[in-house]
């Protein structure tokens, strides 16, 4: 127990330091990046789960960097809320590597960016200092811009530049907010801020409120709330297929986590409810994003772009839940953060897999996919069902808690918006499901395709892969990308000429689909992780 807090700075420092290793080794060896990244992320999974275990049994773990008192120095904190996000970051970062080994952008510099991104995301999860949070926001931003720009086409550079400009302005807005709060209180530590803010509000409410406004606008931009979401669809669409899952699953999630952390641990529920029009504003922005994001998703033709707009709407739900300021809504937002991250990682990985192997990128090109490739289509369908929120799935539990929170807060319009968003999610998911399952590939040639011998062979192979994927999922997340995948990947290397989809990619997609479903059953468990200590501390 005594030295476990030393793991906290290591969570951030190790991936950042090791991010230089692929470049350094790249001077002599060509393909070391993946191995370095895989080793590091596996170690991070071990470290975060160890820490999370300590947090959930013994309580909050803190570490004062350099021994400075928290009032001046930087403090790293892992509590019940952040432990969940840290584990999510480490597991997803490690899992997506199973995809990039064969399918993703190659090269040592890419893996340097990947490790930098992982370190930054873990930094966002564990930091207890509002300015330090800004630095990590920018580190994550930088790594993200670079990784988006690593796509093949020139479009990815344009998308990355657009994200860079908007993302920087968003982060700078947050910095102004930090400045105003610092003026009001004279401290940057989240824990200390929470104590001194009520007095500061009494002294000069305008300063703190202005600070909150800048923080809110900054994060609306970073989390991609309508109408500040415009960078997101371009960025997600033009990023390389191996990058989108990790960005879509983690980057916005970490930003949304940071926003929730500031709302509840720094400003506190009392400030939120006592400031006039504040909760109304947050809830409205969230609800408008839900409706606008879903409506825009319905009219998209590109699948990745459609999922990107879907993210706008799902994060709208989370922001609206933050604005409700009830215990159930907060639990719902947290569960939805985790659930959405898993679902989106799976969906984007599946979309990338389909794009690489079957060259289908638009909704129309998905026609007849279920006949030809039942496993991929099946997992995609499972993930879409989870996204809609049909009961035994991750999407359902989060929405259920948020709706419960809306009812508790007696905000009926929000409950209506949640129901309506489910319908709209159904609308765009159903388009894809209909194309995959009920539209023949090309009407005239369809009979030939279904009788072809090659397709049967493919199906048998796929069956074997499901078994492997299920086993991997049973072994836990570490297994899904650890030894089993590496072995499977080695075995498939010989087949690479014939088929660019590896077992690792398929196993990842299947594992996330199963995880998305099982998280639905584990929803109560997730709520229990937060409930006893964190929720009571925040809300009372």
């Amino acid at each position: 127990m005594s030295s476990v807090d030393l793991l906290l700075p290591l969570l951030v420092a190790v991936p950042m330091l090791l991010s230089t290793v692929p470049i350094a080794l790249g001077l002599r060896f060509d393909r070391t990046g993946w191995s370095v990244a895989a080793l590091t992320t596996t170690a991070l999974v071990a470290a975060t789960t160890t820490l999370a275990n300590v947090v959930y049994t013994d309580g909050v773990v803190t570490h004062k960097l350099g021994g400075w008192s928290p009032a001046y120095g930087i403090e790293l904190v892992l509590d019940e809320f952040s432990a969940l996000i840290a584990v999510l970051v480490a597991v997803t970062a490690a899992g997506v590597l199973a995809y990039t080994r064969v399918g993703g952008p190659r090269g040592n510099t890419f893996y340097s960016g990947y490790l930098l991104l992982t370190g930054g995301l873990l930094g966002i999860s564990v930091t207890g200092d509002v300015f330090n949070l800004f630095v990590f926001l920018e580190i994550v931003g930088l790594a993200t811009y670079a990784m988006i720009a690593s796509g093949d086409g020139p479009e990815s550079a344009v998308a990355a530049l657009k994200y860079l400009i908007l993302g920087t302005v968003g982060a700078s807005m947050y910095l102004i907010g930090v400045g105003l709060i610092f003026m009001a209180t004279g401290t940057l530590n989240m824990g200390v801020l929470a104590e001194v803010l009520p007095a500061a509000v009494e002294r000069d409410p305008t300063l703190v409120r202005a600070g909150f406004a800048f923080v809110f606008v900054g994060f609306s931009m970073k989390v991609a709330q309508w109408p500040l979401h415009t960078w997101q669809p371009d960025a997600y669409q033009h990023a390389p297929d191996g990058v989108t899952p990790v960005i879509a699953a983690l980057v916005s999630t970490a930003y949304a986590y940071a926003f929730g952390r500031l709302l509840y641990s720094v400003f506190g529920p009392e400030f939120l409810t006592s400031t006039p029009y504040l909760t109304e504003l947050v809830v409205t922005v969230g609800c408008v994003s839900v409706v606008a994001g879903s409506a825009l998703a319905v009219i998209q033709t590109d699948v990745k772009r459609m999922f990107a707009f879907s993210s706008v709407s799902q994060f709208g739900l989370i922001v609206a839940a933050y604005g409700l300021v009830t215990e159930s809504a907060f639990i719902g937002a947290t569960i939805h953060l985790v659930g959405h991250a898993v679902i989106k990682a799976g969906l984007f990985a599946a979309a990338g897999l389909i794009a690489i192997n079957y060259d289908a990128r638009t909704v129309d090109e998905y026609a007849g996919l279920a006949d030809e490739h039942p496993i991929v289509a099946g997992t995609m369908a499972l993930l879409l069902v989870s996204l809609i929120g049909i009961p035994p799935s991750a999407g359902f539990v989060g929405k259920w808690y948020i709706a419960l929170g809306a009812v508790e807060a007696q905000l009926w319009p929000v409950a209506v918006v949640i129901l309506f968003s489910t319908l709209l999610t159904l609308a765009y998911s159903a388009r894809l499901l209909e194309k995959m399952y009920f539209t023949p590939a090309t009407p005239l040639e369809a009979p030939h395709v279904s009788e072809s011998v090659a397709t049967d062979g493919g199906e048998n192979e796929d069956d074997a892969e499901t078994a492997a994927g299920a086993d991997a999922a049973n072994d836990g997340d570490a297994g899904a990308r650890g030894g089993t995948d590496t072995a499977a990947l080695e075995a498939i290397t010989a087949n690479r000429d014939r088929n660019t989809v590896s077992y690792g990619m398929l196993a990842l997609v299947v594992a996330t689909a199963l995880l998305a479903i099982s998280l639905g059953f584990a929803g109560g468990f997730l709520a229990d992780l937060l409930d006893p200590s964190f929720i009571t501390e925040v809300f009372n």
Binding site: Y145, E155, L161, L164
Partner: protein
């Protein structure tokens, strides 16, 4: 009323100027068609924030060099904002570098730095 406004302007002129600078930067980001100038706008915007931090830490005392003996509140400037600004400048430079690299790549691909031309070129493809 006017007296009060003048009073605020006289004592808080730094903030007023900085927010003008902030607005100029933001306007450049939004309205300028040239990508490099957009990036300069982002820099201007950030510089205004840095100056804002410096301005709020300023006191009529001395530089924040602590030499063992204690000082009263308001005698020395708070060192924290200065450290913050140093860090933020480093972050800003990294961002500018990445942004310029992206702009070079865009120029190599499309042969233009203007956003409106870029939009036309991309629409044609």
């Amino acid at each position: 009323m006017i007296d009060a406004a003048l009073d605020i302007l006289a004592s808080r002129y730094a903030y007023a100027l900085l927010f003008v600078l902030l607005g100029t930067g933001l306007y450049m980001v939004i309205a300028n068609e040239n990508l490099v100038k957009k990036l300069i706008g982002v820099n201007l915007f950030q510089s205004a924030i840095f100056l804002f931090f410096i301005a709020m830490a300023y006191v009529d005392g001395r530089a924040p060099i602590i030499e063992g003996k204690s000082h009263g509140v308001g005698e020395i400037a708070s060192p924290l904002p200065q450290v913050i600004v140093l860090t933020a400048i480093v972050v800003g430079i990294a961002l500018t570098a990445v942004g310029l690299a992206l702009i070079i790549r865009i120029y190599a691909e499309y042969g233009t730095l203007r956003e409106d031309t870029l939009r036309e070129v991309r629409a044609d493809e």
